[in-house]
Symmetry: D2
């Protein structure tokens, strides 16, 4: 079944979506928001595409590989930005993004 076949990737996407949204929320509450502007932007980009792909995989989309390939690119970019910042939420988000980027790349291959 589609949702079982893709279950592991769906879980990784879900965790990345949650980490990015938490980082988005936390960045908006930081003292120095200006420094976090690019992080805020990419957190939203990454959360949105992970959220989209979660659902697309769960409905057995015929476009899984192409979507996963774009998602890997977005996760990679978000992880690269997040890892520049020392906040725990950024470091955790970077970890989730890199894990998701790798899972998406493997899946798309």
């Amino acid at each position: 079944m589609s949702h079982e076949k893709h279950q592991q990737l769906i879980q990784v996407l879900h965790e990345c979506m949650a980490a990015c949204n938490h980082c988005f929320d936390a960045c908006l509450q930081e003292e120095n928001v200006k420094m976090m502007a690019e992080c805020i932007r990419l957190d939203r980009e990454c959360a949105d595409i992970c959220n989209f792909l979660e659902q697309a995989l769960a409905r057995n989309t015929p476009f899984a590989a192409a979507l996963a390939s774009v998602c890997a690119t977005v996760c990679e970019a978000c992880g690269n930005e997040c890892q520049k910042h020392d906040h725990d939420h950024c470091q955790e988000c970077a970890k989730a993004c890199f894990a998701c980027a790798e899972a998406c790349r493997k899946f798309a291959a």
Copy 2:
């Protein structure tokens, strides 16, 4: 933290989204698709609002209660339709929908 505060509801929403999307996909492959038309329609409605609310809670939305209240209505309607059909995917989807409706109602209260 928002994503921890809401973690249990996010999980229930995620399971309901997955069950609805699986049911959507499976209904489209049934012999008698016509009989499943309302189920297909409501599976999409329910999957979409659960998917939306998952992400909204993860980013600590200020509109959590109002969104959960609408989500409960949609889950209830989808569960009522799904439970009319004997297919395993419909019965499982109904169960996930009713669990999610109840969790959303409690949350919104």
Copy 3:
């Protein structure tokens, strides 16, 4: 036809979604991002629910009124925040939000 029946509201939602996303993007590039944090947060909330409702109306959702009612609340809140700021993108966004809130409220009634 559903998409014609709802065509006017879909258009208003689309314009509000575009204004909120433009404001989100522009706020992240402002000198004083910290002052715009709540605006950035609400721009995303409002863009997301307008985008969701656009599509839900286009597919003839059975939950149009309930969704429009929540959408009105979100648009109102975003408009209230945006109108506090002098930037053109905030003032234009506030206008789009209030127009959309009113259209959603009328529709839901």
Copy 4:
């Protein structure tokens, strides 16, 4: 400004999203739903990615080209399925899909 820069593509995406959702709704009400199953599936796929890209362009996403390229693939597939069916909603949807596929391809290039 981003939303002006991308305004034409956003409009084409919006029209394709509306046509796909109308076709989805209408297919579910056809006498012979089984024959429309693949059309229903692809209508949802196409509406969802167009809706996603509309919003991503409006917020000035850094991933516009990669997303437009995937979107072109989905629109093409949906158009190919829709044009097989004589219903007006399918023929109109096919036209919107092919127009959107072409606009996305040009944009991505």
